[in-house]
Amino acid sequence: MSNRRIYLDNNATTPLHPEVKTALKEGMDAYGNPSSMHSFGREARTLVEKARENVASFIGASAEELVFVGSGSEANNTVLSIFTCTLEKKCTCDRCGGSGVITTTIEHPCVLETSKCLIDKGVNVRYIGVDRYGKVDPEKLAEMIDGETGLVSIMMANNEIGTILDIKELAGVVHEKGALFHTDAVQAVGKVPVDVNELGVDFLTISAHKMYGPKGVGALYIRKGIPFCPLIRGGHQEKGRRAGTENTLGIIGLSKAVDMRRKEMKDEEERLLGFKTRLKEGLEAAVPDISFNGHPEDSLPGTVNVSFEGAEGEAILLYLDMEGIAVSTGSACASGSLDPSHVLLATGLSAEYAHGSVRISMGRETTGKDIDRVLAVFPEVINRIRNMSSAYKKGEK
C-alpha cells in the first residue's frame, strides 16, 4: 500500500495509546493475585486500588463507588439484570422486587437484548422513543414513569450517530419520580467531560477500549448507599460486587488510558470538532443527495454519520476499505442481520437512507491529511456506486 491506512472507526474501538502500551508491558510483572496476602499479592492489590482511585476521580466518583468489570456490556447487563430481579424477597438483597424498567430505542444491543430477556422473565420493560436527532424528551419520560418503575437506563452518547443526550435533565426527572438512573457512558467517557455528581446518575458504565485502553476491561460506577446485588458471584473481589480475580493488567491499562485522557482530551476535542466541520462541509460540497444524522451540535466531537441516497453502505465501506480507509455502516448487509441500524430507524430515518449510512468516527490519531484523503476518495466512491445503482437517478432532485 502506498497510502497510509486510515482508521476512522474509533467508536468501534480505539488503538492503544503508546503510553498505555508501555504501562501494560510494565504491568505484566505484577502477576500476584490481588487477593493474596503475601507481597506478590499486595503489590498487585496496590496497583488495582491506585487505578480504582484514578479512574473514579476521573468521573468525579470516590474509589469505593467503582467496580471493575470485564466490559461495558457486562456493566450494562449487571445493572439491568439485578434491578429487575423477580425473585422478590426470596434472595438476600433488599432491592430485588420485580421493578419495572424504562430504556430507549437507541441503546446498544447489550442493553436492548438484555431488556428483551427481562421481558421474557416477566419484568415490565418499556421503551421510550427519540426525536430525529436521537434525543429523549424529558417530559415524555416523566409521563412514562410510574410507581412500578425502578430503573431508567439511557445512554449518554450514542455510538452510531454521536448524539449526546441530556443526562443531567433526564436523571433529574427520574429521581423526582423516585426511580434509579443508569447511563451507559462508554462513548462519552474520555471524549467529553463526565462527572457523576454533575450528572446526578446512580450508575454509569465505562469501557477502556473506547478511550485508547485495552479491550476486556471496564468499570461500573455505583453511587454510594445504593444497594447492590452481584451478577457474577462466587468471590469476595470488588467488595463482593463482582466475583472473579481482578484483571490487573487490564485495570492498569484502563488507569493509564485515563491519565492520558486527562492530558489530551480537551485539545483532541477541539481538533476533532474542526475536522468534523471540514468533513461535513467537504462532503456536502462534493457529493449531492446526502444527509447527516445525529444532533448538529450536541454530538461527540469525532463522530460523523452520513447517509447517501442510492448507495448501499456495505458497498461504500468495502470500496473505502480498498483505499485503506476504515469506516462502519448502518446497512443491514454489513451486520448480517436483515434490518438496517435500529438507531437510525428510531430517529425516523427511512430504511433506504439507513441502508446507505456511513459512520466516520475519528480519534486521537486522525490527522488533517486523513481528512483531505477521505474528502478526495469519497466522491469518487459514491459516484461509482451510484452509476451502477438502480436506486439513484442523477439530477432528479
Binding site: 491506512r5 442510492g310 448507495a311 448501499e312 453502505g313 456495505e314 458497498a315 468495502l318 480498498m322 446497512s331 443491514a332 448487509c333 454489513a334 448480517g336 436483515l338 438496517p340 427511512s350 430504511a351 433506504e352 441502508h355 452509476n387 451502477m388 445503482s389 438502480s390 436506486a391 439513484y392
Partner: protein
C-alpha cells in the same frame, strides 16, 4: 502481521465487485427485449435486469443491469451477466442462486440471499421477453403454497427464511412466525427446512 487484506469474500467476488461487468450506463438509449425489476430498496437491495435476445436462435445476446446493494449483490449480478450472455433463454430461465454463488466461488452463508435477486431479476426479464413475444405459455408461475394456515406462511417464505440464515425450526419461527399458533405445520415445515438447506447450502 496477519494479512489485513484478507476478505470475507472470495477473490472472484472481489474482482467482480471492484470491476463490475455489463452495467447499464445509458438507460434511455438501450432497447431491451426484456426487462425485470426485483427487490426493494427498503430491504437493502434492488436489481434491474435487461436482456437482448436473438429470437431465431433463442439465445441471450446481451445482459445489462443496475443494482442497489452490497458487495455480494453487485458481484452476483456482474457474474450473472457473464454467465448468461450466449446462453439459451430456456436454460437461463432455470439458473439458481446456487449456480451464481458457485460461479463466484461461494458466498458467506448470510450473504447467499443477496445472490437470489440475480436469478429472480433474470427470470423477470425473461418472463417480460416471453410475454412480449407471445410465449406466455413458457412462463412458469411461481406459485406459493401455504404451509402454515394460521400465520399464512408459504413454502416460498420458508425458502426465503432459509436463504436469510434460518437453520433451525426455532430460527424459522423467528423469521416467519410460522407454527406459532396451532403448531400443526411443524412436521411439514421441518421437512421443507431440510429440503431448502440441502438445495442451497449443501
Amino acid at each position: 502481521m496477519t494479512d489485513s487484506r484478507e476478505w470475507v469474500y472470495t477473490e472472484k467476488v472481489k474482482d467482480h465487485f471492484m470491476n463490475p461487468r455489463n452495467i447499464l450506463m445509458d438507460e434511455k438509449g438501450y432497447e431491451a427485449d426484456g426487462k425485470g425489476i426485483v427487490g426493494n430498496i427498503k430491504c437493502g437491495d434492488q436489481m434491474i435486469a435487461y436482456i437482448k435476445v436473438d429470437r431465431e436462435k433463442g439465445v441471450i445476446t446481451d445482459f445489462k443491469w443496475k443494482t442497489y446493494g452490497c458487495a455480494s449483490a453487485i458481484a452476483s449480478t456482474s457474474i450473472l451477466s457473464e454467465m448468461v450472455i450466449g446462453m439459451k433463454v430456456d436454460d437461463a430461465y432455470h439458473l439458481s442462486p446456487k449456480d451464481i454463488a458457485g460461479e463466484l466461488g461461494g458466498l458467506p452463508e448470510h450473504k447467499v440471499h443477496c445472490s437470489v435477486l440475480g436469478d429472480k431479476a433474470l427470470r423477470a426479464a425473461i418472463n417480460d421477453y416471453y410475454s412480449r413475444n407471445g410465449m406466455e405459455d413458457k412462463i412458469t408461475r411461481e406459485e406459493a403454497r401455504i404451509v402454515c394456515q394460521c400465520m399464512n406462511v408459504t413454502d416460498r417464505d420458508i425458502e426465503d427464511a432459509v436463504l436469510d440464515g434460518a437453520r433451525t425450526y426455532y430460527a424459522l419461527q423467528e423469521h416467519t412466525k410460522l407454527g406459532t399458533v396451532c403448531g400443526q405445520c411443524r412436521e411439514e415445515a421441518e421437512k421443507l427446512l431440510e429440503e431448502y438447506k440441502t438445495k442451497h447450502f449443501s
